[in-house]
Point group: C2
Chain length 341, copies 2
DNA sequence: CTTGTTTACTTAAACGTTTAAGCATATTTT
DNA sequence: AAAATATGCTTAAACGTTTAAGTAAACAAG
């Protein structure tokens, strides 16, 4: 088995001390007044031996790992995949590497991941926290490692967070449905304690109270039973003498499950039922009547998270900062005004 | 700013040497014959000070980082997101952490990422290589770090690779379309040198030669111009006196672009045009006539990649091994036998 | 011809671990 | 009572890097 080249190997080959080699290869020749030809010689040997600096040793010395840890809730969801991508890009632009893990909405996995990443001496963490992870977050605060939350957040914990105007976005979506003449607007959301989801529910409820006479038609499904309970929810919305004429989904996953069932039932969108969803999805574009949705500014969110985290890394005493970014309601066919009958 | 707890801190607090603390906290008390009460005392202090072992120091000592690097071609594509997820899961099951990066199909980015990961002393690499990265791969072979390729591969380079039966899968898909009565089957693929895509093309071509009288209707689009060129391809397939009655997409991204346009044109699937695609997508399920597709065994592929890589890590002299996993053609409405007219 | 400065290098310590080897002291075996 | 063994700890070196401080030779200034 081949061995890796170290400064020592190069030093030996060149007949000098490792210090000198280090100076040259970190471009500190000026400062260290290294002879021209020696510098050239060292570089030549380094390239011949295929030298790659050992980042681990460097980290140990410097106390920084130039690494940030990222824990997403579910990497197989393109929404989080895209966030991961923007974070990785922005981190790399700042010469940081990303170590990542997916908690898959599992509290234990999330705790494990936090520990693994801390052990690896990440300089900071970006978290999309799982439901019920308040304790883990509070525990994290005791560590000297800065972190920021993104997408989901805990208003009662004073840490840096990147979020969107969940309440307002929801409110606007419902207002739009009311304006297009819908009179029985349902919502399907997760049964959860996650604040951002509940803000979306609040937006729905308050928009109805303000703009419509109808009663609330809020249905909840558990993440762990998304298929069955979304179907139940839709059954409930569509049954009875006065079925819903619109449905608002709190996330893309819910919408996709729901639309599958809506297709099976033969319900027509938007004639029988208008549809609006939070989040984007390729499937929304491809639907026979493209789905109106609330676009989250993923790029801005990812960049803001990295930027904020780097500030915390640079200044350990920087106070927590909350960033709230606006969303956009993208109106398409699925919420078209119904034709008069 | 708080500081991290080290063995030294604990040793000082307990009035012993760091060595003793190390023995206790790595559960080598037996071997090192540490006194019972001292062990207890050390553990107590460690937990009180919230000690987390410094993995970097440990790595420097051991020469292993217990980390594997993963470079995917595009993390925002759920296909790669899912691969990343399975790899991360399987790695964690083996007490490895994953560092990842997305090359975004960019050769330069890919090269940068390889270097970054090597600098970080990953114990091994899993790559979904970009088009044209043969040189990078050959360069990698000179390094003492084992790696495996997944999804895409270079038959002319003798390294460990995990792939699927691209040729056969394509062949079967076309045979299926022929069997359901299609007589003018088109294919839309990438214009690329990537071997796995070209195997898919070969499957199409040979299946036609064997089972059908029709001429080849192969259209190519560049990844970088996917939108316009997919549209052009479809225009070409559908024009003329004898338009295509089926189209086979070489990837999910191509299919999604294509289907968007097919919708715009008002072409009916499967009545006017049958559709089959490689890869999965939620959008395929949601389409008004769910798309027949070739399912890649992502879980098996990811697990095989990790398993194979770990074998290479354990045994530096293990010869390269190629793993080929079978796919499954999932037949749905989009390729239903057309009704007789 | 001292003294001072510049040039080109080396020495050595440090980062936080691990672990073989060493060293008292206490206990058991002959 | 001497020898052997067990017990409970410490010492020190090592991993690969960085960097302040030191040194020796060459050269310039007074």
């Amino acid at each position: 088995m081949k061995k890796k080249t170290s400064l020592k190997d190069i030093a030996q080959e060149a007949g000098v001390s490792t210090a000198l080699v280090s100076y040259v290869l970190t471009n500190k020749e000026e400062k260290a007044r290294v002879g021209q030809e020696m510098a050239k010689k060292i570089r030549k040997i380094a390239s011949r031996l295929n030298y790659q600096p050992n980042h681990i040793a460097r980290s140990l010395k410097s106390g920084r790992s130039d690494t940030i840890g990222l824990i997403v809730a579910d990497i197989s969801n393109p929404f989080f995949g895209n966030i991961a991508r923007t974070i990785e890009d922005e981190a790399k632009r700042n010469n940081y590497t990303v170590i990542f893990g997916s908690s898959d909405e599992n509290l234990e996995k999330s705790g494990d991941l936090i520990n693994v990443l801390l052990n690896r001496q990440v300089d900071g963490l970006i978290l999309i926290p799982t439901e019920g992870s308040e304790q883990q977050i509070k525990q994290l605060q005791k560590q000297p490692v800065p972190f920021v939350l993104i997408d989901r957040y805990f208003p009662q914990i004073p840490v840096s967070q990147i979020g969107i105007n969940n309440y307002q976005a929801s409110y606007n979506a419902i207002a739009h449905l009311v304006k297009t003449g819908r009179q029985r607007i349902g919502m399907i959301a997760y049964k959860t304690a996650l604040y951002h989801i509940n803000e979306r529910k609040r937006g729905y409820t308050e928009a109805l109270a303000r703009h419509s006479q109808q009663p609330s038609l809020m249905k909840l499904a558990r993440y762990s039973h998304i298929r069955e309970e979304t179907r139940q929810a839709i059954d409930q919305l569509l049954q009875g003498r006065k079925p819903a004429d619109a449905v608002f989904f709190a996330t893309n996953s819910l919408a996709i499950e729901g639309l599958k069932y809506i297709n099976e039932l033969g319900v027509r969108v938007p004639e029988d039922l208008a549809v609006v969803s939070f989040d984007e999805s390729e499937a929304f574009d491809l639907y026979y009547s493209p789905i109106t949705f609330i676009r989250q500014p993923i790029l801005e969110m990812g960049n803001a998270a990295v930027r904020l985290l780097l500030e915390h890394i640079k200044d350990g005493d920087k106070p927590a900062e909350n960033v709230c970014i606006d969303t956009e309601l993208v109106i398409r066919q699925s919420s078209n005004r119904p034709k008069k009958k």
